[in-house]
């Protein structure tokens, strides 16, 4: 009987509610290790983690690949973070990403003969407008009719992807592409400039600058306060005279424009042209990254680099250990879930510390 009593005390001490997040982490790691141990093709976990990190950050070409992957993730994460400041979910990042690429290609096809600087600005403008239109739909529906922006945004993603596939398989297919579903290649002079013939392009600077500017703007301008009101309580915000519809639309337009720039950069520089498999799910990864950062603009930067590193690291590892590309998805999914668990553990620890402070 005594043993049982001791066990129950131990159980109550160990499995307190504050520790659920921590135990989830432990359990998740154990389950994953068991699964990996069972698989015939899996390398040892240390080899895996070490290989990914070394591949992503251990060599110069690897790091450049990491930065290349970081650009769309960073911009898409910012696209999520801006509306999220007002408590809105921008799940349509993937769709806005594709809309940006589609709009820029449209300019290329209709006005490709223009001199490069003009073509560049027109493409930039078109991409921004394309992404903004795609983002405006959920924002308008939410602000005007109260339709969930989560569901409409999600659905628009697949509309945009299918539209892109239709265009490259149909009317926009380049006749010189030997039957491949490719659109015309972007001219090198009229897109984001590469850094020394690598795939790292000036979109990175745009992303970093956008993060800093957004940080400053949301600190000092009225929009920061407005979105805090909206995130807190819409009814209260209405009472103090916050223009709800226009704020929603404005925040979503800004987000859509950022995601669209990511799409244009990826299509024009990294892939060279509009073609299927344009995005490796960057819109969704961006959403997760923004969420992990707590929608803090500056915190997004390191987390986006980390996420980019996971992708590029697994890419190199794939070649070394002949792993399937799905390994990247397993790692990303596991990392994000562990972040979620860890953040719960962290919040719980903070709260219990505060409670202790309050009682003493």
């Amino acid at each position: 009987m005594k043993i049982l009593a001791v066990l129950s005390i131990v159980r109550r001490r160990l499995f307190r509610e504050q520790y659920t997040g921590a135990w989830t982490l432990v359990g998740g790691v154990l389950v994953l290790l068991c699964l990996l141990g069972w698989s015939p093709i899996a390398p040892s976990p240390w080899r895996l983690i070490w290989g990914v990190m070394a591949g992503a950050f251990g060599s110069w070409p690897g790091f450049l690949e990491t930065l290349t992957r970081t650009i769309p993730i960073l911009l898409c994460a910012l696209a999520v973070a801006v509306p999220a400041r007002a408590g809105l979910f921008n799940i349509g990042g993937e769709g806005q990403f594709h809309c940006g690429a589609i709009a820029a290609t449209f300019v290329l096809l209709t006005a490709g003969h223009l001199p490069s600087p003009l073509l560049f600005s027109l493409q930039l403008l078109a991409a921004v407008i394309g992404g903004a239109i795609c983002a405006a739909i959920p924002a308008l529906l939410r602000g005007r009719f109260g339709v969930s922006e989560i569901l409409t945004g999600l659905m628009l993603n697949f509309v945009a992807i299918n539209l892109m596939l239709y265009l490259v398989h149909g009317p926009w297919r380049d006749p010189k592409a030997l039957g491949w579903p490719y659109a015309v290649a972007f001219p090198e002079e009229a897109v984001f400039s590469r850094w020394r013939h690598t795939n790292v392009h000036s979109g990175l600077l745009v992303g970093l600058a956008a993060a800093v500017i957004l940080f400053v703007v949301f600190r000092t301008r009225v929009i920061g306060a407005t979105s805090r009101y909206l995130a807190g309580n819409i009814e209260a915000a209405r009472r103090v005279g916050v223009p709800i519809l226009s704020s929603f639309v404005f925040l979503f337009l800004a987000g859509g424009a950022l995601a669209a720039l990511a799409g244009w950069g990826e299509a024009s520089v990294v892939q060279g042209r509009l073609r299927p498999a344009l995005s490796a799910g960057y819109g969704y990864i961006g959403f997760l990254v923004s969420w992990l950062s707590g929608h803090r603009f500056l915190a997004i930067i390191p987390i986006a680099i980390f996420a980019g590193g996971l992708y590029s690291g697994v890419d190199t590892l794939q070649l070394d250990l002949s792993l399937p590309s799905a390994t990247a998805d397993v790692l990303i999914g596991a990392v994000f879930l562990s972040f979620l668990a860890a953040s719960h553990a962290w919040i719980m620890a903070k709260e219990s510390r505060r409670e202790k402070g309050a009682t003493t």
Binding site: S148, L151, F158, V159, N162, D329, G333, L340, S343
Partner: protein, 314 residues
């Protein structure tokens, strides 16, 4: 007369084909319906279907029995849904975030573990031809030439309707999905009901994935669901969270694919990507129409809203 008969026969064949094509979608959408009725959105349908398909194929190849494959698929889908439930209900993570992470994880796990089985032949489920019934003109093809999972689908749609509208548990699910605080005040264990609903959703999604691999394509390919899971989420909206509408609409979308193939064969060129856009456009339109006409969209009022017990300060 024979022209009319031929026309009817073709119609019946197309209808039967739509049912087969729509089955996986219907299973997943029915599963999502249960989960969403309890107020929990699970965006991981695609991941759960893939994991179900991979587990189904692996278990079928290892054990030789497709029935064990289906069981494994259901369990795998349920395991992944359990992760979602744990994160949303216990750790109070955001449902959307957890759902996306689940999709990515499911895609990864199925691709990773299914790798050695890509393209392998196996004996999955086949259509059952009942000796006399399936030879009845017209109706034989329409009603009696399916694999058993299709009949299972009809059974589970009826069972789900019964569960939601005629049982205590169903009333609890709906109450929890509409107003968890009131349900809690009435003594419903909100989180337990949501746990069960999410797990049930995972079970159905996994089985849907298994139907795709075991009965439809008869082969495992990485990312073989190709967006069916996302269509399921949109379809639930169009069907206004009602099991029978989900069933009918799934067959309609299955029919769209069949019709597209028929048109293609007849020389009418319609881009498959246009057809691919339709379910999502319908979903957006359905959301708008119900909101504009002030009719109830059928959407559970506490969808995507987390519940905190008012009697515990956390």
């Amino acid at each position: 007369m024979s022209g009319l008969y031929g026309f009817l026969e073709l119609g019946c064949l197309i209808a039967a084909d739509s049912v087969t094509r729509g089955t996986a979608l219907a299973y997943a959408a029915l599963g999502e319906t249960i989960a969403e009725r309890s107020g929990v959105v699970n965006l991981g349908v695609e991941g759960m279907m893939l994991v179900g398909a991979a587990a189904g194929v692996i278990a079928t190849i290892v054990s030789g029995s497709p029935w064990l494959g289906i069981a494994a698929a259901g369990l795998a889908g349920m395991a992944l849904a359990g992760v979602h439930a744990h994160f949303c209900l216990v750790l109070r993570a955001n449902q959307i975030v957890s759902g996306f992470a689940l999709t990515i994880l499911g895609m990864g796990l199925s691709g990773f573990f299914g790798r050695p089985y890509v393209g392998l032949k196996f004996d999955g489920l086949h259509e059952v031809h009942l000796p006399i019934l399936s030879d009845i003109p017209l109706f034989g093809a329409l009603l009696f030439r399916y694999d058993l999972m299709v009949y299972g689908l009809f059974l589970s749609a009826v069972a789900l309707w019964w569960l939601l509208h005629r049982t205590r548990f169903g009333i609890q699910v709906k109450a929890v999905g509409n107003d968890p605080e009131a349900a809690f005040a009435m003594g419903v264990a909100v989180h337990r009901v949501r746990w069960l609903a999410v797990l049930g959703g995972g079970l159905m999604s996994g089985i849907g994935g298994a139907h795709l691999a075991l009965a439809f394509t008869h082969v495992w390919v990485e990312k073989m669901t190709a967006g069916v899971g996302w269509i399921a989420i949109g379809l639930v909206i169009v069907a206004r969270w009602a099991p029978f509408s989900v069933l009918v609409l799934s067959f309609a979308f299955g029919g769209l694919a069949v019709l597209h193939a028929q048109l293609q064969a007849a020389g009418v060129k319609v881009s498959p990507y246009f057809v691919g856009m339709l379910p999502y456009l319908f979903a957006i339109a359905a959301l708008m129409v119900t909101h504009l006409s002030n009719r109830r969209s059928g959407m559970p009022r506490a969808l995507i809203r987390e519940f905190r017990r008012p009697d515990r300060i956390q």
